[in-house]
Symmetry: C2
Subunit: 707 residues, 2 copies
C-alpha cells in the first residue's frame, strides 16, 4: 500500500527532497518535554518553523498539543504534513515510518542509531526500515544523524540547540556525519557566509549525498557547496552528481580517511573505506575542489560563495597587500599551491607608481604599505592587468581603510575578488558586512586568504579540464589482430594488445624452443645492441622475482646461459626483445576500482608510486584535457622534463596511451586490470617494456594502496 | 660618548630589553594630532600607558604638551624616560636616536622603512643608525616594524589602532614582520589566550629575535612562545636561544619561504633566504615545534599555553569525542601526524562500559555520544589509562554539557588536556572561560584540536630527543692513518677517512698502472664475486657522468676493456673494489650551511632526495638520540625496514656514522663537505660505496636545494 493510496488524508502530495527540505507541516514523533531528552531538544529546534509542527508521543502526558499517534496528529494539522521527524529508538522506527506514510507523509528524518552499524538486532531494524521505504516510497534521511537545517525557512530539524542561531546563508553543506554538518554550519556562520541548507547524511539508508547534491543544483539560494565524505557507497552516481552540480556551482570536497582508523570508522559508518587517494582524484576530475581539512573546506567554500572564476588552466592572482609580512605568507602559500602571481605589465606598474611611494614593491604582490588616497586606483590597476584572473586583497583593518568602498570605487566587477583581513573581531565583521554588499567574500588571516584564492584557482582549473569532456575517451577495443577478448594473457599477447592500441613496444620474437630462441636472437641482434630474454607464461605475474628476466644478452653463449636459467625457473616458452633506450620509467595501469569502477593510474617507476604514493588517478572515460594534465600532478614531474639531460615526455603520446588503455578496459568487461610497468620515456618517445593483463577481476593495482 | 656618561639627566638607568618592554617613561618623537598620520595613531595607542608619554614634534603647533625637542621632553618627565618611539622618516632617525641617548634613553622603537631594504640613500641612513647604536649603546627595535605591545602593562607601541583591544595573555609572539606580529596577536586574542608580549622584529638592526627569545625565557607571564621567521641572520645564536628557551617553555615556529618568492621577499627583508627545509629541521632539533602556517601556529601555541607534556618519544593521545564524525577527522589527522591513539586497557574499557551504552566505540577514540551522567568518569578512565599521555576532548557544545565541570570532576590534573568545541560563538566562549579556570586550552573545530594535540606530542618528542644532548657528538678527527688534515681528497683517501671513522667501506686496492690494476683484480677476485673499477682523481667529483665507474668486472678481459675506457676518460690512476651486496642506498653528507654552520643531511638514494626533497637534517653537534631519530623522519622510512624482503637498517650503526662524520667536519675547518653517496644498507650492515671530501668551502650539497 503506497502513501498515495490513502484517500482524503492529504489535500496534495509533495514528494522527493522537497518534502524533506520544504515541508508544509511536520510531525515530530517522540516529542518530549523532559529537558535533556533528544525529543525535547528537537521540539525546541523545530519551534521556530512557521508551519505546523505536531508533537506525538506514545505515552502522552496530559500535555495539551501532544498527540498519542501520528494519524491523530496529521488529522489535526491545518496544513498537509510532508515530513516526519523521528526521535524514537531503532526498534520503533519502522512502525512509525509505516504509520506516517499511511497518512500521507512522504519524507522522514530518522535520528536514532542502533541500526546496521551496531550489528545484532540493528540489522533487523535496518531491514525493516528498508522494507517500509521500498513499500511506501517514503524518503528517509538517516538513520544515525543529528539532522538538517534550512535557516532561511526557519526549519531546523536538529537536536543541537545552537542551530537556533544559524542565519540564512549561501553555502550548501552535505556532510557524511551529522556532527560534521553542524561543525561546518557553525564555522560558516562564523565566516559570515552561513548555510543555505545543511544536511548530515548519517547511515544514508534512503537519502544519499548524491540526492542532496542534485537537489542543491536546483536550489537558488545555494551559491557554493561544501561536501564532506567518509565512505562512498555508489561511486559512479556520486561522480555524476558532482559533475552536474559543479557545472553549475562550485563544489568543495573534504574526504576523511587518509590514514587507517578503520576499526573506529567502521563502528561509525558500518562501511569499509575505499582508497582515499582515488576518491580525491576522481572528485577533482568530476569538477570538485578537494581540500585537506575542515578549516580549508570552510575557507574554500567562503571564497567560492562570491563571484565564480571563469574556467582557466592556471588562473593567476594579482595580490594587493597593505603589509609585506602577511603578503609573503600568502605568496609563499600560493606558489606552493601552483597558483601563479605573474609580474604585472609595465603599464599597470606605471599606474601603480603614480599612487604609491617608490619604496614599496609594485610588481605583484603590490605592497601598498598603509593604504592611503588612490588605493582604489591600485586595486583597479591590478584587476585590469591582462595577466590577472583573480584579485586578492589583504590588510590589517584600520578605521581609515574601507576596503569595500575602495573596491567599489575601483570598479573591478569583472574579476573575482577575495579580501583577507585581520584585526579586532568587530573590525573583521564590519569589513565582512561592507564587502557582502558587493558579493565579495572576506576571510580572516593571510593563510585563510591564500587557501581561498587557491580554491578559486582550483575551481577554475577543474572547470577548464572538464571542457571537451566527452571527446575520444569512449570504450574502444581494437579490432586488429589481438584475437579473442579473453585470455590467457602472456606478455606477448599483452603487448600485441598495446601494439593494436598504438602504444609502442620493443621489437620482439616469441620462441617455443631453444632453436627458435637462437634464431630470434640472431634476427634481433642484427640491428645491433643487446637483447632481453624473458620467461613467457601467462600464469606468472612477477617474472623478475623468480629470475624470469635476463637483460643485456649480447652473445649466443650468454643467450644459452639465460635459457638454461629460464628453463630452470620453469619456462617452456621465451620472449626475446630488443633492449630499449635508457630513460625515465613510468607505470600506467587501468583497473576496476571497487567503488568508482574503471580508473587509470599513472605513476613514476621505482619506489615513487609505492613509497611516496605519487600517482595521478582518473575515472574512465577520461577526457583528453584531463589525461594531458595527469603527469603534471605527479610530485616527480620534473623527472619528465629533461631532468639531468634526460628525455622530455611526449605528453600527447602519454594522453593517447591513457585514453587507449582506458578505452580498452571500458570495452572489455573480461579484463580486470591492464598494467604497463615500466612505460619508459625515452628520447625516441614512449615505449612499453613490460605489460600485464589480468582477468578475472580479483587483483587490485598495488600502487593504489595508501601508505 | 655613551649614554651612561651623561650625568644628572636620569636618576637611574634601565638597560637592555627591560628598557624597551618595561619602560618607566616614553618619549614619542614625531607625535602628531593629524588623524591618519602614523604619529597620531601611535600617540593614540600609547595613551593607555600608565607612565608618562611625552610628545615631541620638531614643528610643534601651539598644542599644549607637545615639546619641540627630546631634551625638553625628557626634562619635563616626572619619571625616567627609558624608551623613545620614533615616528620620523629614515633620514631623521639617527639624529633623533643620538639626542635621545644623550638624555638617558636606552631603548628605541624605529617604525620607519626606507633603510637598507630600500637601497640608495637608505643604506646611508642605516649606517648612521648603526653608528649611533654602537656609540651610545641604545637598543633599537626596527627599523621597518609596526611595533610591539605588552597588554598587561597597557603598553601598546603600535600604529595599528586595533591593538587597544588586546587583553593580557600568556603567549609571547616574536615575529619577523610587524604585520605578522599583529596578525598573530589578533588571532591569539580570538583563540582566548592572548599575548604576554608581541614583537615585530622588522629589519632587526639592533634587537633581534634571539634577543627577545632570551627575554621571554625570564618573563613569568609567558607560558609559550610563537615564533615567526622569514630569514635568519645569525643561525647559531638563534638555535642557542631556541634551545635554552624551549628547555623552559614550549616554542612553536613558523618558517616562511618554502617556495621561491625571492624578489618580493628581498624587497621586504633586504636579506637572502636560506634553506627553508634546513631552518625547520634545525629549529626542531633545538626543541621547537615547527608548523606549516599561521593557523597552525595559533592552534599550537594555544594548546601549549596549558599544561606542558613530559618529554616522551611518542606521546599518545586518549581521545573522548561526543560526535563520531568530528572524532574521525581528529583521529585521521593524528594518525597522519604520527601521534598514536593506543587501544585503551581492558580495565579502562570496563570502567567506560559501566557508563556508556554498548553501541558506542570505547577503545580510543571513545565515542560517548551525547554526554550524559557519568561523563566525568569516562574522562577519568581515559586520562588514567597507562598508555595515555595526553587527553583530547571534543564536543559540539550543548547547554546540558559543561566540559570544564566534568573535567574538574574527573580529577585528571596529571594529564595535559586540550578541549575542542564547536557551536555558536557565545557557547565556544563560555567553554573557553570555564576551561581557563582549569588552565585547559580550548580550540574551535576538530582539525584545530588535532593540530593542538599534535603540537603537544611534537613538543614532548622534541624535549625527549634533547635529553643527553651533549653526549659523544663533539668534534673528533681520527688520528689513525689518514694523513694530514688537508687534501687533495681522492676516493681512496676519502674512504681511508671513513675507515678511520669506523664507517665500513668495501675492500679496495689503489693502482697506479695497468699492471697494478691486474694484480689488484686478481687479489680482490680471489674471494669470489665481481669487482668495481673506478677512475681515481681528486679533481673529478662526478665520476659516473664521465664514464669513470665500471661495475661487475669478472674477467681480465673485461678489466682491460674497463681500463681502456678509463684511460680514454683521462684516468692516470685506478681504484679497484669488491662489489658490495645489494641493498637500499642512502646518502649521508656533512657540510657547512651558510646560516647554521655545520650540518648533516641524510636521505634515500636515487631521486628521493632531489625530487621529493626527502631528507633529515641536523645541525652539529648532534646528540645520539637525535641522530637515531633521523631515519624515522624520512618519508621513505619503510624502505629501511625489510621492504620486500630487503635488509633492515642498523639504526645504531647509522647514528655512529652520522656522529662520526659530523664530528670530523666539526674538527677539521679545512673541510667544506664530506658526502657518502651511496651509503648502502645491506644484510651485512652499512657500507659506504662512494665518498667525496671537498675543500675549500664552496660547494653546497645539492640535496639541500629546495624544489
Amino acid at each position: 500500500m503506497s502513501a498515495l493510496a490513502v484517500p482524503g488524508v492529504q489535500p496534495s502530495v509533495r514528494t522527493g527532497l522537497s518534502a524533506l527540505f520544504e515541508p508544509r507541516g511536520i510531525v515530530l514523533v517522540g516529542a518530549s518535554s523532559t529537558p535533556g531528552k533528544l525529543g525535547a531538544a528537537m521540539a525546541e529546534s523545530l519551534a521556530a518553523f512557521a508551519g505546523p509542527v505536531l508533537h506525538v508521543n506514545s505515552r502522552p502526558a496530559a500535555t495539551p498539543g501532544v498527540f498519542g499517534g501520528i494519524a491523530e496528529a496529521v488529522a489535526a494539522s491545518p496544513e498537509p504534513v510532508d515530513l516526519a521527524v523521528l526521535c524514537v529508538p531503532a526498534a520503533a522506527t519502522a512502525d512509525a515510518l509505516r504509520e506516517a506514510a499511511a497518512h500521507g507523509v512522504t519524507a522522514a528524518l530518522v535520528c536514532a542509531g542502533g541500526f546496521a552499524e551496531a550489528g545484532g538486532a540493528g540489522l533487523e531494524h535496518e531491514a525493516a526500515v528498508r522494507a517500509v521505504a521500498a513499500e511506501t516510497g517514503i524518503r528517509v534521511l538517516g538513520p544515525n544523524t543529528s539532522g538538517f537545517f534550512v535557516p532561511r525557512r526557519d526549519l531546523r530539524a536538529s537536536f543541537v540547540p545552537g542551530v537556533a542561531g544559524l542565519h540564512a546563508g549561501s553555502v550548501g553543506v552535505v556532510a557524511a556525519s551529522g556532527g560534521v554538518n553542524h561543525v561546518l554550519a557553525f564555522h560558516l556562520e562564523r565566516a559570515g557566509v552561513g548555510v543555505s541548507l545543511g544536511v548530515g547524511i548519517g547511515a544514508g539508508l534512503g537519502v544519499t549525498a548524491p540526492d542532496v547534491l542534485e537537489y542543491l543544483a536546483e536550489d537558488e539560494a545555494t551559491a557554493a557547496v561544501a561536501l564532506h565524505l567518509e565512505t562512498v557507497a555508489d561511486g559512479p552516481r556520486l561522480l555524476d552528481a558532482v559533475r552536474r552540480l559543479s557545472a553549475r556551482k562550485p563544489v568543495v570536497a573534504l574526504v576523511v580517511g587518509r590514514n587507517d582508523v578503520s576499526e573506529f570508522a567502521q563502528s561509525h559508518t558500518g562501511a569499509l573505506a575505499t582508497s582515499w587517494r582515488t576518491t580525491r582524484a576522481v572528485l577533482r576530475q568530476a569538477g570538485a575542489v578537494v581540500v585537506d581539512d575542515e578549516t580549508a573546506l570552510v575557507d574554500a567554500a567562503t571564497a567560492l560563495s562570491g563571484r565564480r572564476p571563469a574556467p582557466r588552466e592556471a588562473a593567476a592572482v594579482g595580490l594587493v597587500t597593505a603589509q609585506a609580512g602577511p603578503g609573503l605568507i600568502i605568496a609563499d602559500h600560493l606558489h606552493g599551491a601552483g597558483v601563479p602571481l605573474p609580474r604585472l605589465a609595465d603599464e599597470s606598474q606605471r599606474a601603480i607608481a603614480e599612487v604609491l611611494p617608490p619604496l614599496t614593491f609594485q610588481a605583484n604582490p603590490v605592497d601598498t604599505g598603509r593604504p592611503g588616497p588612490g588605493y582604489d586606483r591600485v586595486l583597479g590597476a591590478v584587476a585590469d592587468d591582462p595577466a590577472v584572473d583573480l584579485l586578492g586583497i589583504y590588510a590589517i583593518t584600520e578605521p581609515v581603510l574601507d576596503l569595500a568602498a575602495a573596491l567599489k570605487d575601483a570598479g573591478v566587477d569583472g574579476v573575482p575578488a577575495v579580501i583577507g583581513v585581520d584585526g579586532p573581531e568587530c573590525d573583521v565583521w564590519r569589513a565582512r558586512e561592507a564587502a557582502a554588499g558587493l558579493g565579495v567574500p572576506v576571510l580572516a588571516g593571510p593563510s585563510a586568504l591564500a587557501r581561498g584564492l587557491a580554491a578559486l584557482a582550483a575551481d577554475a582549473r577543474a572547470q577548464h579540464l572538464r571542457e571537451g569532456e566527452d571527446d575520444g575517451a569512449a570504450a574502444r577495443w581494437p579490432s586488429d589482430g589481438t584475437g579473442p577478448l579473453s585470455g590467457p594473457w602472456d606478455e606477448d599477447r599483452a603487448k600485441a594488445l598495446l601494439d593494436a592500441l598504438g602504444i609502442r613496444t620493443p621489437e620482439r620474437r616469441r620462441a617455443a624452443t631453444r632453436a627458435e630462441a637462437h634464431a630470434a636472437f640472431a634476427e634481433l641482434a642484427r640491428a645491433g645492441g643487446a637483447v632481453a630474454v624473458k620467461l613467457l607464461d601467462a600464469s606468472v605475474l612477477h617474472k623478475t622475482e623468480i629470475g624470469g628476466v635476463h637483460l643485456g644478452i649480447d652473445s649466443a653463449a650468454r643467450l644459452d646461459a639465460a635459457l638454461d636459467a629460464l628453463e630452470a625457473a620453469g619456462a617452456s616458452a621465451f620472449l626475446l626483445e630488443r633492449m630499449a633506450e635508457p630513460g625515465v620509467d613510468l607505470v600506467l595501469g587501468a583497473r576496476r576500482d571497487p567503488v568508482f569502477g574503471p580508473v587509470v593510474v599513472l605513476g613514476v617507476g621505482g619506489i615513487a608510486t609505492e613509497v611516496y604514493a605519487d600517482v595521478a588517478v582518473r575515472s574512465l572515460p577520461v577526457s583528453r584535457r584531463s589525461a594531458l594534465a595527469m603527469p603534471d600532478e605527479l610530485a616527480a614531474r620534473e623527472l619528465l622534463h629533461g631532468f639531468r639531460g634526460g628525455p622530455e615526455l611526449d605528453a600527447g603520446a602519454l594522453a593517447d596511451a591513457v585514453q587507449a588503455l582506458g578505452g580498452a578496459l571500458l570495452a572489455n568487461p573480461r579484463i580486470a586490470e591492464a598494467e604497463i610497468n615500466p612505460l619508459r620515456v625515452t628520447q625516441k618517445g614512449l615505449v612499453a617494456l613490460d605489460a600485464v593483463v589480468i582477468e578475472p577481476a580479483d587483483t587490485p593495482l598495488t600502487v593504489e594502496e595508501d601508505a
